[in-house]
């Protein structure tokens, strides 16, 4: 295993590599096609490079444990707004997730629907490309249109374009209060319609999810608001008028409901393959028949638990998603299943050609997590 501790060492390791590298941070997100190759761990690149709470900016080494990042921010009453999921429970992994892994997978939780994804808060990257060259893009300021935005390209590229060495974020103050409005027993269609009403209101909803009856003891629909205490109380009241039958839950009780959605815990420790599907929110319920479902992002993010048999439902799910518009990724399945099925969504030919072209440019030797996004 290669364990560089500086960016220069990392560049040297990539330069010197003679075969494929399997890049890991904390190793808690074994998603994608299984990659054969020498393990290159970024965990040795650790530590906060710069934190300016008054400028809402944080720059950290890519291998820094996510928990450390959270603790540093919490000490100043701030947080990463995109609420990344912890994959350990769902995937049955252990270890310490790193911030670089969060970025490489563009992990974004329930708040994505309001404030944006990991890629939206990522303002700078440094990485080593497949030739061993150190590249920086973006920086430490929130507004930056200087040159092309490779920052977004790196987010969610799963280590296939470069090995991240440092990442910068726009952070935000953690709000003083939160509350959720919760209803039970709605169908997926009813639930998603309510979420849509909440998200289409002026009340700045920061989470909108529906868990179907099999995932929760009873189907549960929930809408979240966050902010100053008085504002949260006001908006909770207004949303309760808008959404008859919803009850208000506050503070830690509310937070627990969202952690469950964020981490997809109803599917943790249970048999079956898990799909993560992004569609237009109102199309979400149309996928419910294909498996047990948890709907986040107002219905637009669908987690499906299906039997781990045959192609894990790939053909049926992808056909339906193709009709609707969107994409489906097989997030959890055995190595054998992931080797046999296209884990990431196959792209139409002209887009696939662009993607393949970019990979060939950034990693001409094809050594960085080769095939992981196949």
């Amino acid at each position: 295993m290669l364990t560089p501790e500086t960016e220069a060492d990392l560049a040297e390791a990539v330069c010197a590599a003679t075969g494929p590298l399997r890049i890991i941070g904390g190793g808690t997100r074994p998603i994608g096609k299984p990659v054969a190759g020498e393990v290159l761990s970024a965990a040795g690149l650790s530590g906060v490079s710069l934190y300016e709470p008054g400028a809402l900016t944080l720059v950290v080494q890519a291998g820094t444990p996510f928990a450390e990042v959270e603790a540093v921010l919490a000490a100043e009453g701030q947080r990463l707004p995109f609420e990344p999921m912890d994959h350990r429970a769902l995937l049955g992994t252990s270890g310490a997730p790193t911030i670089g892994g969060v970025v490489a997978a563009n992990v974004s939780g329930p708040r994505r629907v309001q404030g944006g994804a990991c890629r939206d808060y990522l303002i700078g990257v440094r990485f080593v490309d497949g030739t061993g060259a150190v590249v920086k893009n973006g920086g430490r300021v929130m507004k930056n249109v200087t040159g092309y935005d490779l920052v977004k390209l790196m987010a969610g590229s799963w280590g296939s374009l470069g090995v991240l060495s440092e990442v910068s974020f726009k952070v935000l103050a953690a709000p003083g209060a939160e509350a959720s409005l919760v209803a039970r027993g709605l169908s997926a269609e009813q639930g998603v319609a309510a979420l849509s009403a909440g998200l289409g209101s002026p009340f700045d909803v920061s989470g909108a999810a529906h868990l179907d009856a099999r995932s929760s003891d009873e189907a549960r629909t929930q809408v979240r608001i966050e902010g100053l205490a008085g504002s949260v109380a006001y908006r909770a009241g207004r949303l309760a008028e808008l959404l008859p039958g919803f009850e208000v839950v506050e503070g830690a009780q509310s937070a627990a409901l969202w952690q469950e959605v964020r981490d997809v815990t109803p599917f943790a420790g249970r048999d079956g393959a898990v799909w993560r599907i992004s569609v237009k929110p109102s199309d979400g319920p149309l996928l419910a028949g294909l498996g047990e479902a948890i709907f986040d992002w107002g219905g637009g993010l669908v987690w499906l638990l299906v039997p781990e048999e045959g192609d894990c439902g790939a053909a049926a799910i992808r056909a339906r998603v193709a009709e609707l518009g969107g994409h489906a990724t097989l997030v959890r399945a055995s190595e054998a299943a992931r080797a046999a099925v296209a884990v990431f969504p196959p792209e139409p030919a002209p887009v696939a050609a662009l993607t393949a072209g970019l990979r060939a440019k950034f990693d001409p030797r094809g050594i960085l997590n080769p095939g992981i996004m196949g």
């Binding site: 300016e52 008054g54 400028a55 009453g77 701030q78 994505r112 629907v113 944006g116 994804a117 890629r119 939206d120 060259a133 590249v135 920086k136 893009n137 920086g139 430490r140 300021v141 929130m142 507004k143 930056n144 249109v145 200087t146 040159g147 092309y148 935005d149 920052v151 390209l153 987010a155 969610g156 103050a173 709000p175 319609a193 289409g200 209101s201 700045d204 100053l228 008085g230 504002s231 006001y234 992004s278 237009k280 929110p281 992002w297 637009g300 518009g325 969107g326 994409h327 489906a328 990724t329 990431f344 969504p345 792209e347 002209p350 887009v351 662009l354 993607t355 072209g357 970019l358 440019k361």
Partner: protein
Amino acid sequence: MEMPAPDASILAKKPRVVARLAEALPAGAVISDPTETRVYECDGLTAYKCPPLAAVLPSTTEEVAAVLKICHEEGVPVVPRGSGTSLAGGALPTADSVILGVARMNEVLEVDYDNRFIRVQTGRTNLSVTGAVEEDDFFYAPDPSSQLACAIAGNIAMNSGGAHCLKYGVTTNNLMGVRMVTMAGEIVEIGGAHLDAGGLDLLGVICGSEGQLGVVTEATLRILRKPEGARPVLMGYDSAEVAGQVVSDIIKAGVLPVAIEFMDRPCIRATDDFSGAGYPDCEALLIVEVEGSDAEITEQLGVINQIARGHNPVELREAKDADEAARIWLGRKAAFGAMGQINDYMCLDGTIPVSELPYVLRRTEELSKEYGLDVANVFHAGDGNMHPLILFDANKEGDLETCEALGAEILKLCVEVGGCLTGEHGVGVEKRDLMGAQYSDADMEAQMRVKDVFDPDWLLNPAKVFPLAVTASRRDFAA
């Protein structure tokens, strides 16, 4: 500023290229008469002008594809154009290029309130996107000051921002999908009404690529429900340091204003004379705006005003009604117009870490004295996006050059303190030759590789963004 010499062989075959374009497009969509192509000789950066070989105004994506196929076959460079308001020279033609304007493509294709998006043709102006949904209380958030004129096409190409992006983000954060035509004439769909990419985030790199990767013809944009209300408060301070501290304290306090705007003394004076907004005469003026219901606004302003008072303001004025709110914004909104009345000006938009604000303002003042040109500052302070306006006299020999040299110094200063050359206007030709101040050769190489993939012959808007010397081998090879 230098542009590549036009390719004589292209100039020579103008009649054939024009004939082929005319054959592919409806009548009236090809402009080749030199008296008419002059309309397209520049964009908002009027210091540089050059009429194109021809201009085309297609009405459909298919027509755009036909144009690009012909130009690709003929090896003719293409410069995409929205409304031509770029301040960076992004839409500046060369004499051997075809301007491809999307102005005739301005339809709304789909509005979906349940799923909170709108799909438009990209020639549609920014403000008219909001216009299409505001009766139903929705809006499109990114609001460049040029929003009455600028098109979504240019907004996407430049990843434009606006006064309200502290809360709502810039174009890239509100763009869900595009339909785009590559230089080879191939139509691709990227993203859509769903969120985020399933594979590589191509949308993320297309947004902000300054018309160099493809011609975007349709866009799916996120729309939001309008907040119940908004209210600004105005604060004046005796020093930029203190005002900078106030900005930091506010954004740290857990209230996220939609806008924090900053004006310095030269700017306050100039705009107040012009607009009669009644601003206090002080070193630094802040306008902070928050949104929500009345009660929520009062709660947020409670926190903000307490911070403001703690720093001994010269003035602290909260708008009590819509009239007062308008008066607070009056001067800020008139700032550019006011400057334009007094002088010619060049507007830069480097971004800096908020903490460096006092130092950068002080250093800018020193540079301004050194170069003998006045600089007024008005900017989006919440995110450190400066807008120094350098005042000069276009009719005075050498003034433009001095202005450019001073501008370059100020932008380098922004980079030195940890910021960047441009926060929202883009590089274009204006900042092209400064790219090396921010990015190493390897950094630029990585970016240019993206263009190599999308446009291997380097025909789309080729002389922009990267220093000419850096792109020479690619452009020459292609020719």
